[in-house]
């Protein structure tokens, strides 16, 4: 007999450089397994390395179960992988870099892509790098969500800070209670 062990996972997605790898490193108990490579061509201007396949981290829960933490690659040419990663996830965290050129458009890409999951899967949006004060700030994202008629929790977060990620997971947990 084959025992099917269901995978327990949280998925971090979002635009390039939004902090997915950072977020997973912040809470993972193992060093993040990833395939970061040096960026080429025009992305080079923005950051040194980028994730090509996935980020993977882990957290062992009581009773030995493992929570898996996945980060999707930020570059859109890998978006064929997103549905595979998200299947069966406990929750989805969309990170958006506020300091990017057009962060509201970035958010829109992920909202559109994951639209069909939003109804059933607890999803929280995290706006990162707001401390750099280069972006439009929170009202712009609220306006976008309002125009899309989407009611989703949204926070400014710094993925380097554990408490910020705990806050996001607390919110995902609260969303599960709301059936």
């Amino acid at each position: 007999m084959r025992i099917i062990v269901k995978e327990i996972k949280l998925v971090f997605t979002g635009s390039m450089g939004a902090g997915k790898t950072t977020a997973i490193s912040t809470i993972s108990e193992i060093p993040v397994v990833n395939t970061d490579v040096r960026t080429t061509d025009k992305a080079r201007l923005r950051k040194e390395t980028t994730t090509v396949a996935l980020d993977y981290g882990e957290l062992t829960l009581d009773g030995g179960q493992k929570l898996k933490l996945y980060g999707t690659p930020g570059q859109q040419r890998f978006e064929y992988m997103w549905p595979i990663i998200i299947k069966g996830a406990l929750g989805l965290i969309i990170l958006v870099d506020d300091a990017a050129d057009d962060p509201v458009a970035d958010l829109a890409i992920y909202i559109k892509f994951f639209k069909s999951y939003l109804e059933d899967m607890p999803t929280v949006i995290g706006i990162t790098r707001t401390d750099l004060k280069q972006g439009p700030g929170m009202p712009a994202y609220y306006d976008y969500l309002q125009n899309q008629d989407l009611q989703l929790p949204i926070f400014p977060v710094d993925p380097r800070q554990r408490e910020h990620l705990i806050m996001i997971i607390q919110t995902l947990a609260a969303m599960v209670e709301v059936v």
Binding site: I27, G91, Q146, F155, E177, V179
Partner: protein, 347 residues
């Protein structure tokens, strides 16, 4: 009453008779209101829209998210937050305008910012009675002082007898100034300040320059006024609901509150999650979260004052049909999240 800074009303698609009605009723209503309202189509704070005619309805649909529209109709078929029944009656108009002043103080922020004025002599003496009531009256607390300051566009310093000044408000910048705050972790002392009764709060009119120099000297931080409308209401409510609402009220959050500017504890995420997804009774949230109804009421009041709440009609479809089917899956997920959080917080 400060008649130098009226609140402006405009109209859209009103029939002639309704407009005449409105003007004359407003005249009569005026002596019962402590804000001066005038018809001024040029720079309106609020707009009465006749949604019974196609033109008005189209206008409504295009603009209602700005939240400054009042639906005028025979029935509130659009479920508008602010609605006035036709034919217009004085008492209903008075109630409505009062409600708008307390529940939507922000409508009067933006346009008032434009004209500057430093010599407003405002009457800060509010009428209050000490009796502990069943309902929460925001005008008896810092919330009320903030709203008054906003309406009169007066920069002020708020202080308590036993401590130094704790808050400055500068309406022309939509801002308050105070020491650095961590909204996820306010100290007990800070909470005590924000829940103060107006009889304990000294207010002093100051000018913008004074605020600027004190801010610099003492290293104060700038915050949106909403932060303190929220904090004051959250802590001063002490379980009592705003007048007109009950634990049976069916409510829904218009959007996720920006907790980066609102005082909160983790329980507030749970309350917000319940209020966001679909219309729900306040008492049902208490039941489902296991939190006290007082906790829920405080949150509701704070969100209401900040215009984050839609009130739904009581017969709203709040049956949770799928609940049964999905509940096992949900319980499993809940316990998984519990162990994740336990692992992360080490509690």
């Amino acid at each position: 009453m400060d008649i130098t800074h009226p609140h402006n009303i405009a109209t859209h698609a009103l029939e002639k008779t309704d407009k005449i009605f409105l003007v004359s009723m407003l005249d009569i209503a005026q002596k019962n209101l402590d804000v001066y309202w005038v018809l001024n189509e040029d720079s309106p704070h609020i707009i009465f829209v006749n949604v019974d005619v196609p033109e008005g309805k189209a206008y409504w649909l295009a603009n209602h998210t700005k939240n400054n529209l009042i639906a005028l109709a025979q029935y509130n078929f659009l479920k508008a937050d602010f609605f006035l029944e036709k034919p217009i009656r004085v008492q209903k108009l008075i109630d409505l305008l009062k409600r708008i002043s307390t529940e939507a103080p922000h409508l009067f922020l933006k346009t008032e910012m434009a004209s500057k004025n430093n010599d407003v002599d405002i009457d800060l003496v509010l009428d209050y009675s000490e009796s502990e009531t069943e309902v929460f009256d925001p005008s008896l607390y810092l919330t009320g002082l903030l709203i008054k300051a906003v309406q009169s566009r007066t920069a002020q310093r708020f202080s308590l007898a036993n401590s130094s000044s704790f808050l400055f408000i500068l309406p022309e910048q939509d801002s308050c100034f105070t020491k650095n705050l961590d909204f996820s972790n306010l100290t007990d002392e800070q909470k005590m300040c924000y829940r103060s009764h107006i009889k304990d709060i000294q207010t002093e009119v100051v000018n913008a320059n004074t605020i600027a120099s004190i801010t610099q000297k003492q290293g104060l931080k700038k915050y949106p006024i909403e932060s303190f409308l929220w904090a004051s209401t959250l802590y001063a409510s002490r379980g009592r609901l705003l007048t007109g609402y009950s634990t049976k009220s069916v409510v829904q959050l218009k959007r996720w509150p920006d907790f980066s500017i609102f005082a909160h504890d983790p329980e507030h995420f749970r309350i917000a999650a319940f209020m966001l997804k679909k219309p729900i009774r306040l008492e049902t949230i208490a039941l489902k979260t296991g939190l006290s109804i007082e906790h829920i009421n405080n949150f509701f009041n704070a969100a209401m004052i900040n215009q984050l709440i839609d009130i739904k009609s009581n017969n709203e479809n709040i049956t949770h049909k799928q609940a049964q089917k999905e509940s096992t899956k949900a319980t499993e997920k809940q316990s998984l999240f519990k162990s994740v959080l336990k692992r992360l917080t080490g509690e």
